[in-house]
């Protein structure tokens, strides 16, 4: 294999992430603007915006989009100065920064349309540059309000920025305390789901984490690393300690109350920091933020219950067959099945977000488009109280953004043109939900624009006129369709439709349909599942095919050293490898899958996944590890392919389903169990 990776292949993924970063950017900038109007600094918004812009710059450089790199570079410089000045930014900076984001957004759209990004408008860089100078000049005179002392050793304190120090000392109001929470990570803790990521999530639901500092040095329990979380919180020490997995985690106060007595000077009125709380955490009194992994854990426990229940019903069936009176037992079983279903529904509901909340960003998007296109457009949101799994919502939003943007950019006519057609000046883009049924949500994105000109589309794709709306949609969704030329204005559609379809159809397993009437408008119908299952998976290759397994099911990944394998006689040709002093049977996955029936016994693969099968370790030999990634698990429901050991399928991006395996179940279903036990026993002797 040669190293000829084409980074241009990452353009679609880049566009999706750029979209997200711009979303973050807009949100932070608006938050900054609100704070500025009240004369308050918003250091966190500045930092977040800086980071979004910086990431955009780097990514854009990788996929070679120089104009975005330039704009982002100057915005970043201006924001870096503001960050150094404790998050203070001159009011006059907001508009050029807003303009910068808009210009980047416009170029992202051009790229999505297959065009190249336009050069940077002359005036903008000058304005951003001017900001930098002003910012640098004004930077020195900022009071850091560092009156209150932090009870923190210098080694740690010196790693805080002035803004962070200020945040900690001024953030103590009423019941809110500043504390340090020490979390000691460990392999056993990681195995039980307590990692710095989950601890951070848990602590986020208890308060505001200002900073997390890693601290090397011996710890309780023989580790060498402590994470020090600096938190503003109203929670008790016990709650915080619990969030960090219990002892040896510890909690200590950080700001000595006596010095915090004096009111902070100048701008910092009490309650200022509340401005920084994410709105959703305070929306209604009765909400609770829970990290998704906890819910997944609950679901896993439930799955165990369901398995147990089917054992129970088999046992009852056997009783019935033997002539025992089981009427009441059966009634209880039925009731139990219903309760389990309800329980599952209740757990899944916890992960649901309201569609209305998901679409929050669209009005802002349309406002920006109104300005950049000069079109009069109104966004009508006609959204019920339907709810979606967060994982679905996160994927759906970029698709909706694409569709709304297309509608404004390419479907709606300019006001004069609309008037000439007898339409109202103001075009309408409507996003509506249409209830849910059978675990699916129906949405439409419609406009009253010019409709898709099927003839123009066909001409551009150099194919005969599509006979049905489906065929037309098929053409619009061809990858690179819109890259042919710049004739989009006449065809009305085609911007990144392949991305939309990729998300809705390939990723989410939903449906996408099109209705269009020339001159009257276009409606896209989307149908998406309300929930999807995400899985952190290891992807590997075996006999030329790729497979995935849940990371959590694999105890260890090891190299297979063919020279050190033991092949005891009479063990049915089974191989054994030595692992920490005990013998572990090694099964060739290719053989188990029936992919290499003729392969030599010692063709064991180079890597092995260690999995616990009924409590005993078994190694599954595979050829090559491809990597670790999050996948969308698609269950296989058809009886033709519902087989033990195969959990479902996923799309790794090649359009071919990749099987997701449950190695333990596969081994039990297809492996020779008794011989393995025997072999194990023999091998203990052999190896000792």
């Amino acid at each position: 294999m040669s190293a000829s990776v084409d980074l241009a292949d990452f353009l679609p993924a880049y566009l999706a992430e750029a979209e997200e970063l711009l979303g973050t950017g807009h949100r932070q900038l608006l938050a900054m603007e609100v704070s500025l109007r009240r004369g308050v600094a918003h250091p966190r918004a500045v930092r977040e915006l800086f980071r979004a812009v910086h990431t955009l710059k780097g990514l854009s450089a990788m996929v070679d989009v120089e104009p975005i790199v330039d704009i982002a570079h100057w915005m970043e410089t201006c924001l870096r100065n503001a960050d150094r000045a404790g998050g203070r930014l001159p009011q006059a900076s907001v508009e050029p920064l807003m303009e910068g984001l808009r210009e980047i957004e416009q170029r992202v759209r051009q790229l999505a349309a297959g065009k190249s990004a336009a050069p940077v408008p002359a005036g903008l860089l000058a304005r951003l540059e001017a900001l930098e100078v002003a910012g640098a000049a004004g930077g020195g005179g900022v009071a850091t309000g560092g009156a209150a002392a932090l009870a923190l050793e210098e080694a740690l304190a010196s790693r805080l920025s002035p803004a962070e120090r200020e945040q900690l000392t001024t953030g103590v109001t009423g019941a809110r305390r500043a504390v340090r929470l020490d979390f000691i990570p460990g392999a056993d803790r990681a195995a039980s789901g307590t990692t710095i990521n989950t601890v951070r999530e848990r602590v986020a639901s208890l308060g505001e984490t200002v900073k997390v500092l890693p601290l090397s040095g011996p710890t309780v329990g023989g580790g060498s690393l402590t994470f020090v979380l600096l938190v503003l919180t109203e929670a008790s020490d016990a709650e915080l300690q619990e969030a960090a997995g219990g002892p040896p985690a510890s909690v200590r106060p950080l700001v000595v109350p006596a010095t915090a007595e004096a009111p902070a000077p100048g701008l910092e009125a009490p309650g200022v920091l509340e401005e920084e709380e994410p709105e959703e955490s305070r929306r209604s009194g009765g909400t609770l933020r829970v990290e998704v992994s906890r819910l997944d854990e609950a679901l896993e426990r439930l799955a165990a219950l369901v398995v147990n229940r089917s054992r129970l019903s088999r046992a009852v069936a056997a009783l019935t067959a033997a002539g025992a009176p089981t009427r009441e037992l059966n009634a209880i079983l039925q009731e139990n099945a219903r309760q389990l279903r309800d329980m599952r529904t209740a757990i899944l509901r916890l992960r649901m977000v309201r569609v209305g909340d998901v679409l929050e960003r669209l009005p802002l998007l349309v406002r920006g488009l109104r300005r950049s296109t000069g079109k009069a457009v109104r966004l009508a949101l006609d959204v019920g109280d339907e709810e979606l799994d967060k994982a679905v919502a996160d994927r759906l939003l970029p698709a909706l953004v694409h569709l709304v943007r297309n509608a404004v950019d390419h479907a709606l006519e300019l006001p004069e043109a609309r008037r000439a057609l007898g339409k109202p000046d103001e075009g309408v883009v409507r996003v509506a939900t249409h209830g849910r049924a059978g675990g699916l949500l129906d949405l439409t994105v419609s406009d009253d624009g010019r409709g898709v000109d099927a003839q123009a589309v066909a001409a551009r794709a150099r194919v005969p006129m599509p006979a049905t709306p489906d065929a037309l949609l098929e053409l619009l969704c061809r990858p690179g369709f819109s890259t042919r030329d710049a004739a989009n204005a006449t065809s009305g559609r085609g911007m990144g439709m392949d991305i939309v379809r990729r998300i809705i159809v390939e990723q989410l397993g939903g449906e996408l349909a099109l209705e269009t009437r020339p001159g009257a408008g276009t409606t896209f119908r989307l149908r998406v599942p309300l929930t999807i299952t995400l899985l952190d998976a290891l992807v590997f290759e075996c006999a030329g095919l790729r497979y995935a397994v849940a990371v959590g099911s694999v105890e260890e990944l090891i190299e297979v050293d063919a020279a050190r394998l033991a092949r005891p006689a009479g063990a049915g040709g089974l191989c054994l490898l030595e692992r920490r002093g005990s013998a572990v049977p090694l099964v060739s996955l290719a053989r188990l899958l029936g992919l290499a029936p003729g392969a030599a016994q010692d063709a064991m693969g180079a890597k092995a996944l260690l999995v616990r099968q009924r409590g005993e370790l078994v190694a599954f030999g595979v050829d090559r590890l491809v990597g670790q990634q999050e996948i969308v698990l698609r269950p296989l429901e058809d009886p033709l392919v519902r087989v033990p050991g195969v959990v479902g399928a996923t799309d790794l991006g090649d359009g071919q389903p990749t099987l997701v395996l449950d190695l333990a179940a596969l081994g039990l279903a297809r492996g020779g169990k008794p011989s393995r036990r025997e072999a194990s026993a023999k091998a203990e002797r052999y190896l000792s």
Partner: protein, 125 residues
């Protein structure tokens, strides 16, 4: 056979790095989306190569480098720092902290692959 830890808060960037290095035979990749996650993983499991973004939400690449170099066990771990134009000041600090190589975006797949090869094979010799 070597384990690579790829640390970047941008998923696209991580995917790009992995795609660039994939032609090198026998590499396995683990992703970390933050500096803290990287430090945790490094403290729990050995790796053969660290590819590190400088700018991340919680703690930056420099602090990760400082942590790595402060650990006896990790003193020899090769580190490739991925930076962006404008990071020059941080770059100098990262170098002082003990980063092995720098890749400034944009870099070509071949360039980072060559660095990785040099570090992985150099370390063996």
């Amino acid at each position: 056979m070597a384990e690579v830890l790829v640390v970047d808060d941008s998923k696209v960037m991580r995917d790009m790095v992995v795609a660039c290095l994939r032609p090198y035979p026998g590499l396995t990749f683990t992703h970390a989306s933050s500096g803290l996650e990287a430090i945790e993983r490094l403290s729990l499991q050995p790796y053969d190569l660290l590819v590190l973004d400088l700018n991340m939400p919680d703690i930056g690449g420099i602090e990760v480098v400082e942590f790595v170099r402060g650990q006896d066990r990790l003193r020899e771990l090769p580190i490739i720092i991925v930076t962006t134009r404008g990071d020059e000041a941080s770059r100098a600090r990262a170098l002082a902290a003990g980063a092995s190589r720098f890749m400034t975006k944009p870099f070509t797949p071949d360039a980072i692959l060559a660095e990785a090869r040099g570090l992985l094979e150099g370390g063996r010799a």
